[in-house]
Symmetry: C2
Subunit: 439 residues, 2 copies
């Protein structure tokens, strides 16, 4: 009988190859031909490795026939220092084996520094456009952000949960919900894991989930996606809703450190300046609105919510006055927050809630939730809702819940603001919008 | 201006409290009253902390009025060694503050060791039934499994991806796909991230995703869910499909170590014996079928697939003959594998694919994929498919892909087999089946 014993080869990435430890040694690497230049008889290859690009020099004797861009290769050779090569190292090839060949040349010059495609062309060609260096950097950074979220919260005693995306009722209300036929029953796609993460606070006290959420937004804007990845947490036994913001600041600081350590090349390539995330100003909604209106001379039109331009101006204000990239706007009006939001006991027109703005755009919504059964039932009735329709959700309030709250962070928005992308679609591998279901 | 500076309190979990380091010290803990016993004038509380249960002794002087089960508390007191208490420690309360009270007593005695509810009752009461010790143990173990998957693969150079769940075509074909109205267009819920993870091999070489997948299975069995969490990876530049199995064995070994370290109490509570995962036998499909049929006298009815009872018998065979909890069944017949599966060049009636059986049930399906454009187009045509309908998927083959493959692991099945649960629904927080959309 044969046994599989689980010692997979890790293979060499750019990080190991450029560390200096392998200089002068014979190594084997594999990757795709990202770019190919001929100079005299010599071929210079840029080989796309899993974590970056390696220059590879092939003398005439080692060039296989039919070498072209997007061939995939296995190359043996020696690593040597070479100042002019990206990363300071190059591979002097001693043998080159072609593993596969493309059937057609690339539709776009993916090795160019900037592609300057229209958004629509870019997204239509996404499966191969993502092979470009800039796109790879964006999504390596994104992976680092969700990793940071989980690592940090796990360290803070949170338990990961997986909650259903097919649901019998929406958590956020409103019309922006996708409907589904579920074996002849009406069902919906979850707009957030709200009810479930609150439920799990009664079980594990502190929980998080990284998963897709679905919003049937009918308008097309640079800040909305119809499906996005939400970084959610919920925690019990809070003394104040400020503890939620504390936890988010803790996460953001951890994430910036992890990015510095793991994504230095990507940050440099995209010229990202990491924001200061370890002390974030907080300002009440009314005051934020007024400060921005006064400084930039824009009249307040909607007293209950922030318009995108107001978010922009509030961000600008705190950047100019305090050098802050982030700002917590707190105490949103009750009428614009969901039925489960806890009202401020000092002024119940407002809630114990907040948004986090990052460089002028909301990236987080959070707040304390109602934990008392009667208070929750009363608030639902006052809004014309029927508590009987939420029986399984109200079960947790009925049978005891600690004071608690939580938040949801839009991963794509966070990535886009961090990387300076002007449309959130650029921060989503395969975005879904009103007119795009493919690829 | 006020600033949030991000030093959240972590609070004390059972792990810290029972470590011995805090013996004799004054501490503050918070949690819900899981059980309450009166003995003379003394109240013994079992307090449900985020990671376990702590015994708490309240003398008459510190008992607040109205103390009952599922009250949530903040307790100050001294930690002391007490042999008879679970975990060997108890808290001698010096002050007890009630933070919230339930509006009604629990519908089930959640502190009992076993609840013996019908599956339907259990799932209907899920929001509070999950507060029981056994359920908490199952889902702490589950969280540890998905954490292990990500940590191990990150260490092996994989990049995490987030791919869309609303899609324009199914990857697995067949009728078990949910349909959706997407702004007037026909759309589906993803049966797997297959096309997208393959696409991302062209970008990052090695990728993984932990996310929901949706299967509109019309039959109700103890092994199927209509929505489940899939642990997916896909990797390029493989020399053989055995490298995929190697990677899975590596993950499983890592996971067992992490469980040993992080979930010792939970494993003990559920009396889980961790399987040996570091050397897993592999056996070709035909041979596995024959061995089990011969040994247990069950005739082979479907030569192209494994029936559940055959999986059970194959598992039993390898348990009896080799003491193995796992077995890789390889080389499934081509006609039962999807159009993207790579046929075995030595005998194209079979594929370079495998399932992993764990204690007699399939928990993983994987295999090498076709990377050559013409081979893929030909196989689609031979199956009566129209390549034009898969244009954006075939883009990756057309413009070059390395040899690659991957697998998907059902997280709930893995959890259920590990914990000895007889129905996969027990390993899902809020299961979805034909008749259940709620809670």
């Amino acid at each position: 009988m044969k046994f599989i014993t689980g010692s997979p080869e890790k293979g060499l990435g750019l990080r190991e190859l450029c560390s200096g430890a392998l200089d002068g040694q014979k190594v084997e690497v594999h990757g795709a031909v990202h770019a190919l230049r001929r100079l005299g008889g010599i071929v210079f290859l840029t080989v796309r490795l899993r974590d970056g690009q390696l220059q590879c020099v092939c003398d005439p004797g080692v060039q296989p026939a039919g070498l072209c861009e997007e061939c995939t290769l296995r190359v043996q050779g020696r690593i040597r220092a070479e100042e002019r090569a990206p990363g300071g190292r190059e591979l002097a090839a001693e043998s080159v084996e072609i593993l596969s060949r493309p059937a057609a040349p690339m539709p776009i010059p993916v090795s160019k520094r900037k592609l300057n495609l229209s958004l629509d062309t870019e997204l239509s060609l996404r499966p191969v456009e993502l092979r470009s260096q800039r796109e790879r950097a964006v999504f390596r950074i994104q992976a680092c952000l969700s990793r940071a979220f989980r690592e940090y919260l796990t360290g803070q005693g949170f338990t990961e949960i997986h909650t259903p995306k097919i649901v019998h009722a929406g958590a956020e209300g409103g019309s922006n919900i996708f409907r589904l036929d579920y074996f002849g029953h009406k069902a919906f796609l979850a707009q957030s894991p709200q009810f479930y993460k609150q439920t799990m606070v009664g079980v594990f006290e502190r929980v998080f989930e990284v998963g897709p959420v679905f919003r049937a937004e009918k308008h097309s804007t640079p800040r909305h996606l119809n499906e996005y990845t939400s970084l959610d947490f919920e925690m019990g036994y809070i003394r104040s809703f400020r503890e939620l913001m504390d936890m988010e600041v803790g996460f953001l600081s951890y994430a910036m450190e992890l990015l510095r350590r793991e994504c230095a090349r990507e940050l440099e390539l995209l010229q990202v300046v990491l924001p200061k995330a370890d002390a974030i100003p907080e300002v009440p909604f009314e005051q934020a609105k007024r400060l921005a209106a006064e400084k930039y001379g824009r009249p307040i039109r909607d007293p209950y919510d922030l318009e995108p331009e107001e978010e922009h101006n509030i961000g600008r204000y705190f950047q100019e006055e305090y050098g802050a990239d982030f700002v917590f706007v707190t105490h949103y009006p009750s009428k614009k927050r969901p039925f489960y939001a806890m009202d401020d006991p000092e002024d119940p027109r407002y809630t114990l809630s907040f948004d986090l703005l990052f460089r002028g755009m909301e990236v987080t919504t959070g707040g304390q939730r109602i934990h008392d059964y009667q208070t929750q039932v009363d608030k639902m009735r006052a809004r014309g809702m029927d508590p009987a329709e939420f029986e399984s959700y109200l079960m947790i309030h009925k049978h005891g819940m600690p004071p608690h709250g939580g938040l949801g962070i839009g991963l794509e928005r966070l990535t886009a603001r961090l990387c300076g992308l002007d449309n959130v679609r650029h921060a989503c591998l395969f975005p879904r919008d009103r007119s795009r279901l493919e690829p």
